[in-house]
């Protein structure tokens, strides 16, 4: 009998849940959760220049991130059927003043890259 099949049968007979999921004494639980990677870049719709300091967040989640010098952002978030991603200019007139934008994403598997343009106020 091949070892992997033998493992499944014997694990089943012993009624153990440690068949595939176990935890080392001094370690964390296994991570069996699902998440997706949301990445992208935010630019000015007028100048097409990247915008630094835009707050990118997922509605109803604690997570957020600010765009870097290149206007880029990248974060993992918990898998869901849809996501409302918010782009907010919260640094007043530093780097210009831009209108807030929401983007709704559906049926994302593993990762998505977003090119976002914000309109200047």
């Amino acid at each position: 009998m091949k070892p992997n099949w033998r493992k499944k049968i014997l694990g089943g007979l012993s009624l153990t849940t440690a068949l595939f999921i176990f935890q080392a004494c001094y370690g964390t639980p296994q991570d069996m959760g699902l998440d997706i990677l949301i990445e992208g870049q935010v630019k000015s719709g007028k100048t097409e220049q990247p915008i630094k300091g835009i707050k990118v967040s997922v509605e109803d989640k604690v997570q957020y991130q600010y765009t870097d010098e290149s206007g880029k952002f990248s974060f993992y978030t918990e898998s869901a059927s849809s996501y409302k991603i918010k782009f907010e200019d919260i640094d007043s007139n530093v780097n210009g003043i831009f209108v807030e934008k929401d983007t709704v994403l559906k049926n994302i598997i593993k990762t998505i890259y977003l090119n976002i343009e914000l309109e200047e106020k």
Binding site: F20, F22, A24, C25, T28, P29, D31, V62
Partner: protein, 354 residues
């Protein structure tokens, strides 16, 4: 008879797992620096550790040698205190880029809202925080006046994010033993879903502090407490896999005792040593990433973890439970030791009729 069948099937299962020797769980001891000075610290790490943190690129190169990773493969970042690393988020993100999941074991002191968010952003999927009592007892063991309030905040953050598979570990000692019911109530109130209880192994700073080590009768009371609370099903409470506990085996965990160190669990320690769980005696190292290919070592060495008959010595030599225990958890052995450091089953036998 049914229990005997389960036990025998499980032993065959262990044998099969040992043959397959699949790496599912990789510890990375990314630092030995620590922001606490706990009374029970086994690894004796400190703020003034002689080792510098392992550069991320060195760890990633070793991780990259693992060509075939099973679906449940995880990197568990430990220390020292991993949150002392300023590049922890980058570490996590690069580990995810290599296709692996990751978790962190922390004392929670630096785990504030900003850290919680940045770690989630970096793909954190599992977290273990230490809570060793309510305020007075936790602060006493952690040797810090505000560590309880810090970990209390960290727990609130961790339970607020269902993405994280999160649990609490508690080192049970003579001081916090009586307050286990109160800790249980506290954790339920905090909406914690999983709680693992340990005893303290008499090594490191704990070796000469008898206040940290449970008497045999207290150890039995601890297991009775776990059995009772498991029936209530309010929280996923379990005894850790630190040792074999004889007749309690069916009632204190989801599965029977199986020390997977070096069978499914590997580690890369701060100096590059290749080993199993980080709390195992450092003399058991199998190689070093700075001169060896990590995965070749995993595939070709680790014999003393996979073939444990060398532990059949001292009090294990004639023990009738050896077939099920295999010398207890390997952290209970030192290379030149003639005897197992702690026999959990023996502690029970001292106070129970078998």
């Amino acid at each position: 008879m049914f229990r005997e069948l389960r036990k025998k099937s499980f032993q065959k299962f262990i044998n099969t797992e040992t043959i397959i020797h699949e790496l599912n769980y990789l510890f990375w001891e990314c630092t030995t620096r620590c922001n606490m000075s706990c009374l029970h610290c086994g690894s004796d790490c400190s703020k003034n550790s002689p080792f510098t943190d392992m550069p991320l690129t060195d760890f990633l190169a070793a991780l990259d040698t693992i060509k075939a990773r099973p679906d449940n493969f995880i990197v568990v970042i430990t220390g020292g205190e991993p949150l002392l690393r300023n590049d922890l988020e980058l570490c996590g993100k690069e580990i995810r880029k290599q296709g692996a999941r990751w978790g962190v074991v922390s004392n929670g002191y630096l785990y504030d809202r900003e850290k919680h968010i940045s770690l989630l952003n970096s793909g954190l999927g599992a977290l273990t925080l230490s809570l060793d009592g309510l305020e007075d007892n936790h602060n006493w063991l952690r040797n810090s006046v505000d560590s309880f309030s810090k970990v209390d905040s960290a727990i609130t953050l961790a339970v607020s994010s269902p993405r994280i598979n999160f649990d609490i570990v508690t080192c049970v000692n003579k001081r916090n033993m009586a307050e286990l019911p109160a800790i249980y109530s506290y954790l339920i109130k905090k909406k914690v879903r999983a709680w693992r209880l340990f005893t303290i192994t008499p090594k490191g700073r704990a070796e000469n502090n008898r206040e940290l080590i449970l008497e045999d009768i207290q150890f039995k009371e601890l297991l009775d407490f776990i059995c009772q609370k498991r029936k209530e099903k309010s929280i996923d409470i379990k005894f850790s896999c630190e040792g074999y506990v004889g007749k309690y085996e069916f009632n204190v965990r989801d599965s029977l005792f199986f020390c997977r160190a070096g069978i499914n669990i590997g580690s890369i320690l701060v100096d590059g040593s290749i080993s199993a769980c980080p709390n195992i005696d450092r003399s058991f190292s199998q190689g070093n990433i700075y001169k060896d290919n990590f995965f070749e070592i995993w595939e070709e060495k680790y014999q003393l973890f996979r073939e444990r008959s060398w532990t059949r010595t001292g009090k294990c030599k004639e023990c009738p439970d050896y077939t099920f225990c295999h010398g207890n958890g390997l952290h209970n052995w030192e290379k030149n030791n003639e005897n197992v450091l702690v026999c959990h089953n023996e502690k029970l036998k001292h106070v129970m009729y078998y």
